[in-house]
Symmetry: C2
Subunit: 212 residues, 2 copies
Amino acid sequence: MDRSKALAQKIAEKIMERAQRSQRPIPVGISNRHVHLSQKHFEDLFGKGTQPRKLKSVVQPGYYACYETVTLAGPKGKISDVRLIAPARPKTQVEISKTDAMVLGIKPPVRDSGKLEGSSPVRLVGPAGEVDIAEGCILAKRHIHFAPEEAKEFGIQNGESVRVRAGTGGDRETVFEQVLCRVSGEFKLEFHLDTDEANACMVKNGDLVHIV
Amino acid sequence: MDRSKALAQKIAEKIMERAQRSQRPIPVGISNRHVHLSQKHFEDLFGKGTQPRKLKSVVQPGYYACYETVTLAGPKGKISDVRLIAPARPKTQVEISKTDAMVLGIKPPVRDSGKLEGSSPVRLVGPAGEVDIAEGCILAKRHIHFAPEEAKEFGIQNGESVRVRAGTGGDRETVFEQVLCRVSGEFKLEFHLDTDEANACMVKNGDLVHIV
């Protein structure tokens, strides 16, 4: 009898946790194709002594979109006007959609930001030069950013996987499985997905989704 | 007691139905952007007295992809090499992805094939002329084609909505809600989705998905 009571208690807690998580909406942030550059690659592409010029802030604190853009070149095609996100990172990272990858003729893996080992090579072309990266091009794995206090409210641990329902009630309602939760003092609540994923469920920036 | 027995019986039947439905895999068919043309529009674009030349059959019986392609033009951009699917239809229908729509600068609605009232205008350009359609451009609503005997095996009625799990075990596992089931003697079992949706769940032609 005690065992079944303990089980009932656990089930009740799980139900409560799910109810709590699914209650609070999470705003959508759609990642269009973009590049993060190392300081060296920035200088190779835009010239020594130049600085990235801020166009606008992005939702995640500290990052900003720049006036600077590059062209990506692959074996099959090119994509121009690919926005630089600053400041510089230790390693150059190129984030594109699968649709973009097919235009370029490359097959980047789905990866978490920063996990670049064995990811795709691609050529970057800027006004001052070209850079061939041996790896660094990825399809970003969809994820949610949480500030620590937000994660606490949701009952979420860093690294946890959740399911997210998007486009509820629309023509393309979709449930995304295995959405990575990332918790950091530098983050702000936002569900990140790429343009293919956003188009598949017909959401736009700022739309609200729920953990289910 | 009889009432609860009847309920238990109903629940058991529902469980059995779901188990049966989810057991059998359904192959994926990805719809790249394409056009169906009326006979008149075909002649306007490719010239009077010409005939569409078959490139290859598609999975759905009776239809074939042609050597002929058109260019689509919208207020913001153009997309060339858009494949013609023959034979002619009573009304011209242009099926594109949301990604394509953003390139063209138009906002087509999500629609079932053939339901074109109030859908988007677009310009079609061929080697012999141009056609401006006042409506006919859509984002195709994802759907499953069933032959009648296949529908019977699944326990599916024409017009029913189901949920489909795709990319199971992969990096982008996804559940598509409200997938329309279409049953016809002219159909063959296939889950149709567009390139955005296929990229969002990382499936390719012939991959298998399941009703859940």
